[in-house]
Subunit: 203 residues, 2 copies
């Protein structure tokens, strides 16, 4: 959509600045002026690229979800064994530390507004449902290979997602209270065991 090279640069500068400012202050407290300041750009430039404050918030959400989905699919491709893939994903949670803390706080903001604002809700829910479907498919595949007796793959997938989100929230608030990567890992391991998976290649 940008016609000039300079335009694209300021567009991404605004997005990156918004990510910083939103993460640091939260959506409501973050002012458009602060975002422009962080991007080294004027307010006019902002409203040239985005029709509203909410619009840049949604654009940010979309970019975020796309990256996350890419990472998950990458992990899945790297591990033929499903249990191993899930355990590998669980260790990624460890990223919620120091620097990452503010970054993940923005994620909480997304959920918060999704719970109230219909536009944010729609933008959040449809990719989320794709995640859920993704997990369910993987688990259904595992079921065909003998695991998960008498368990609905969708339910199992939701349990996995719940565990991940819960660890993220806790790790965000209390990054030093525990090794949250370890908590996620042990949690997934326990779930896999409870579902009758054979112990994966790596302990």
């Amino acid at each position: 959509m940008p016609k000039q090279a300079r335009s694209e640069a300021t567009y991404h500068a605004l997005l990156d600045a918004a990510e910083q400012v939103f993460a640091a202050q939260g959506y409501a407290a973050a002012s458009v002026a602060a975002i422009c300041r962080a991007a080294g750009v004027s307010k006019g430039a902002f409203y040239h690229h985005f029709p509203s404050k909410q619009a840049i918030f949604l654009a940010l959400l979309q970019r975020w979800l796309q990256r996350l989905e890419g990472q998950l699919r990458h992990q899945r491709r790297a591990h033929p064994d499903i249990a191993a893939a899930l355990l590998a994903m669980s260790t990624q949670v460890q990223q919620v530390r120091r620097e990452g803390r503010r970054h993940w706080a923005l994620w909480l903001d997304f959920w918060r507004y999704a719970a109230r604002d219909p536009a944010v809700w729609a933008a959040t829910v449809s990719p989320y449902r794709r995640f859920e479907q993704m997990f369910a498919e993987w688990l259904a595949e595992a079921q065909r290979q003998g695991a998960l007796p008498d368990e609905d793959p969708h339910t199992a997938g939701r349990v996995l997602l719940a565990l991940a989100m819960g660890v993220l929230v806790q790790g965000m608030l209390l990054p030093d209270d525990a090794d949250w990567g370890q908590v996620a890992y042990r949690g997934v391991l326990t779930l896999l065991r409870g579902w009758g998976f054979t112990p994966p290649t790596t302990a």
Copy 2:
């Protein structure tokens, strides 16, 4: 602290109104004026009882956490068997529906501000640590009875809390996508199985 009966009434009216308005609009969007309107009280009365907007938010948080802890301890007392108690608690998650949705959105708000505001953080974290300790003690007791081989009770407790929080968040956003009470139940059941608990009395 209230010296007159009328005073106590308006105090609680303000707290209840704040719970409604905060849950419906979020902390930042909710104005003190709106809270006063909902309570049928003037702004002067508000600032007579609470020194600031944040103060009533924290008072609300405290009331909330106390009730929650009471409920959990009550469930524990009602079930001598720890596994049964945990399963009973899991079914309580089902309350996140229709009416409860907005109510729980306020809970998300608490976490969100706890991630940024030191005052909210302190008010959230210390009761949370009590929850964590509570779960760890229960699980340590179970460990003495033979369950949870080679698992740290604290880690296990954090896994349980993570599952609960994750189900709550999902149930808040997508109340109709699944029976979240069932998801929580199956999740806890799977964890218990993975930890080597013997199947509880009720399936």
